[in-house]
Amino acid sequence: MRLAFILRLAWRDWRSGELGLLLVALLVAVGTVTAVSLLVDRLQHALLSESADFLAADRYIGSSRPIPDEFRERATARGLRVSETLSFPSMVFAGDDRNQLVSVKAVAPGYPLRGELVVADEPFGAGHVTRLLPEPGQVWLDSRLFPALGIGLGDTVEVGLARLQVAGVLLAEPDRGGSMYDLGPRLLMRLEDVPATEVVQPGSRIAYRLLLAGGDADLEALRAELPLAPNYRWRGIRDSSPSIGAALDRAESFLLLGGLLGVLLAGVAVALSAHRYAQRHYDHVAILKTLGATPTQILQAFALLLGLVALVAVAAGLIAGTGLHLAIIAVLQTLIPVDLPLPSLRPFLLGAATGLICAMAFALPPLLHLHKISPMRVIRRELGAAPPSQILSYGAAAAGSLGLLIWYSGSLWLTLWTLLGSAGVLALFGALALLLLRGGRAVGMQAGSGWRLALAGLQRRGGQNVAQIMIFGLALMLLLILLLLRTALLDEWRSQVPAGAPNHFVLNVTPEQVAPVSELLAEATAGRGELFPMIRGRIVAANGVDADTWAAEHAARDGEGDGPRLSSERNLTWAAQIPDDNRVVRGAWWSADDPRPLVSLEQDYADNLGLGVGDQLTFDIAGHQVEVEIANLRRLDWESMRPNFFIIFSPGVLENYPATYMTSFYLEPANKRFLNELLSRFPTITVIEVDALIAQIQSIIARVTQAVELVLGLVLASGCLVLIASIQASRDGRMQEHALLRTLGGTRRLIAGSLAVEFAALGLFAGIVAAVGAEVTVAVLQRQVFELGMQLHPWLWLLGPLAGMLLIMTVGLLGTRRLISTPPMLILRALS
């Protein structure tokens, strides 16, 4: 057949609306995938680059030693942007008698490489972004240092031996709270002024960082070529803040999964439309064959037709997808105030490939089958065709989805679990649906009432309905899975930094100050004011073996030397009760009257050092040796923002040693001035501010949450499309039956009622299938992919069937309303 003729056939098909549904299904597949991956792509980049703000760089190399010049030079040679920071705690002096412990950050030009500095024109003033830095000889200070030091802009302060002019008010910098050396009111100065201060001496607690920004490939190449171990740590957002890293990882998995389910749903819609198209063309092909069209010509014609449709769908789908994602971004501009980076080419490729693969894997098999239709069908209607090769159809669909999904998610596991979940559930519930429908078989059409008519209809079209329940069920299940995972993720994230979590730590509270500090905190903040004693001490021996020797023999150390050292000086505390958020994982917490000297260790800390319950430890505390036995190991929640201790003693061991106390509390941002009151009443205590850190974590999690919600919405939309396609696909059979009934005197009410009951029943069964499938799949996904705890969702067992019933009844009735309002004669003629 000539191309022109095939194009004419295609045009005539399109004109009659026959190709429409297939084209729309393909178009929606391409459009959804393009829109989802565009959104995911851009949100992911935005999330990553925003998280990079948190480091003020894409990566940094950190150390307690100066960074060699060689590192800087090699980075520059690779075309990376570099800057440097140096952070240390120091006393700053103003006038004769005012001083304050500050956290100094000295920065080189170019800082920050990512994110922005926010300054104000006066202390506690409104902030604005600046691209400037303090000039050499100048410093910028936190608002609250001005009243604390009794100074104003233009005054001078002393840092070590250097006198520097106060030239600005610093409200925020991107990497505030980056390390534990670094928590206190900020003083920002220039790197070149540091030598003049002479505070940097051997043994000073200084954090050196070389900040790097540039392409991932260049960064990784640099990482590979630098001699980092053992003194220099390479850090990106994922390793420098595990909670954000985990949130990003899970969000990424979720977004991928969402897109992946979108692809699956679209594939199902395409397959359904293609089947319907093929079925409606049996006569068409038989007639063409009697007129002399050869099987080869039919094959070529339909393959070409599909190719044509796929091309049009891909082109239109790419445009529609791009438009859709732009529209979503425009609508949500207020929610997503990030500047989204331009998308990469990948989403478009992915969209196009989805269209082509869906066409090949889902739509081609039923169409190819058309060439086997017997021309005898023109004489004998009942001569359909041997059903399409099941192996070919399902094989192609399975291979197509597997390929697409793996490419899409880049994760074999995620894909396999999703597919296995779907397939397993489908098989199981295909059988169940069959049983449900077979039960109590009725005879005849049972046209007496809408209710009985519907149930009889359900059974009569049993095979078709089982297929439909499975498809409805699959679509509903995928949507429920997404809903469940979203809820689990959001809960997890919200619980990480709950609103009102402590955002300030107080250290160095003397025993005499405990009561008044506690009182003041209870008054001014919502904190509980519980103070923990803190004593410095170190382990000198384990089970009678010298600590260093023990560590060398037992410690499980990684190559980079980051693990806790056994003999390092640590903060010790004691407690009668186990602190909140801690739980014993081995051994048992001590009873109040246990006279033995006991200690409790954090589990990872103990594991790293090769220590377990029953081991004997010798501590050196203020020059005295203290022997204790390890009573238990604890897990604790480092993200809780409460005081956490690696080492807790039982009561009665440490009470006689000089202790200071610490606590944490929550302060509203508007109440920052309270710190000055606190510090002026208790000048010797130290306040560590982590509010900036928490705010940053929260903002990132908020963004991730939005991304997740967006993708959920998109996938929901494509799920509805599947439902529509599926109902359309089964429409002809229903139409004919009901039109016939109406000619025999069935009222519209009877038909409408029967359709409503039929769809509701299908939806109910599908909802049951979906609820079970979703529960199982989510349990597996949570364990295997998201590493969250498993739980059952009783509400789902109600929601699934109910939602299925309402959704499918609504969509079904909308899809068949023409059937009820069109004169039956027209329907019968159109179908004959």
């Binding site: 007639i287 009697t290 007129l291 002399g292 050869t294 080869t296 159109a830």
Partner: protein, 223 residues
């Protein structure tokens, strides 16, 4: 005019059913010469429609041979049979079998288009004029009456320039008057195009207009 266009030898058709082998045609021998008009008649289920399908190359017999215009259909594959159909055969069916998505004109153009004939459209117009549907070329089948649909089908059958025209109960779905007109039209065109006509019917009036009547009963020719 005694060139043989159809020759059937020992044609059998047996189909497997749940109750065992069902013999539909049982040893049919038949010769039809060019220009003949032949009616195949018989009761419902006698096998006449199956025979028509096999003679026209729409279906294969289980045994025996059928040749159509000198080609042994039983030795051709579906691909080649389709080509033979396109070149030699035209069809008119009881249920018209028009493509609902095509206009009357487009339906009649189909055979020409399948052959790649550049004059397909002009031919189709001429034929539609001839069957009296010059004013309705742009109409879709659902907008036409049964008689009009059958006329479109007749026009399409002759658009193949067939040597043999097969008609399966061409008046079965039409009222007597309309049926009469359709019969007139078929015979008129048959004469004009010098086509061999083979039709299946149980309409006695239609059968009586044919030069030869073959009666089938129980899968055998009885008269």
């Amino acid at each position: 005019m005694d060139r043989m266009v159809i020759e059937a030898r020992d044609v059998e058709k047996i189909v497997p059913t749940a109750e065992g082998q069902l013999v539909i045609l049982d040893g049919i021998n038949l010769e039809i010469n060019a220009g003949e008009t032949v009616a195949i008649v018989g009761a419902s289920g006698s096998g006449k429609t199956t025979l028509l399908g096999i003679l026209a190359g729409l279906d294969l017999p289980s045994g025996g041979t059928v040749s159509l215009v000198g080609q042994d259909l039983t030795r051709l594959d579906e691909e080649a049979r389709a080509l033979v159909r396109g070149e030699q055969v035209g069809f008119v069916f009881q249920t018209f079998q028009l493509l609902g998505s095509l206009t009357a004109l487009e339906n009649v153009m189909l055979p020409g288009e399948l052959r790649g004939d550049p004059d397909a459209r002009a031919d189709a117009r001429r034929l539609l004029e001839k069957v009296g549907l010059g004013q309705r070329m742009g109409h879709y089948p659902r907008q036409l009456s049964g008689g009009e649909q059958q006329r479109v089908a007749i026009a399409r059958a002759f658009a193949s320039r067939p040597n043999v025209l097969f008609a399966d109960e061409p008046t079965g779905n039409l009222d007597t008057r309309t049926g009469q007109k359709i019969i007139d039209l078929i015979f008129e065109l048959n004469t004009e195009f010098a086509t061999t006509l083979i039709l299946v019917t149980h309409d006695d009036r239609l059968a009586s207009r044919c030069g030869r009547v073959i009666e089938i009963d129980g899968g055998r020719i009885v008269a």
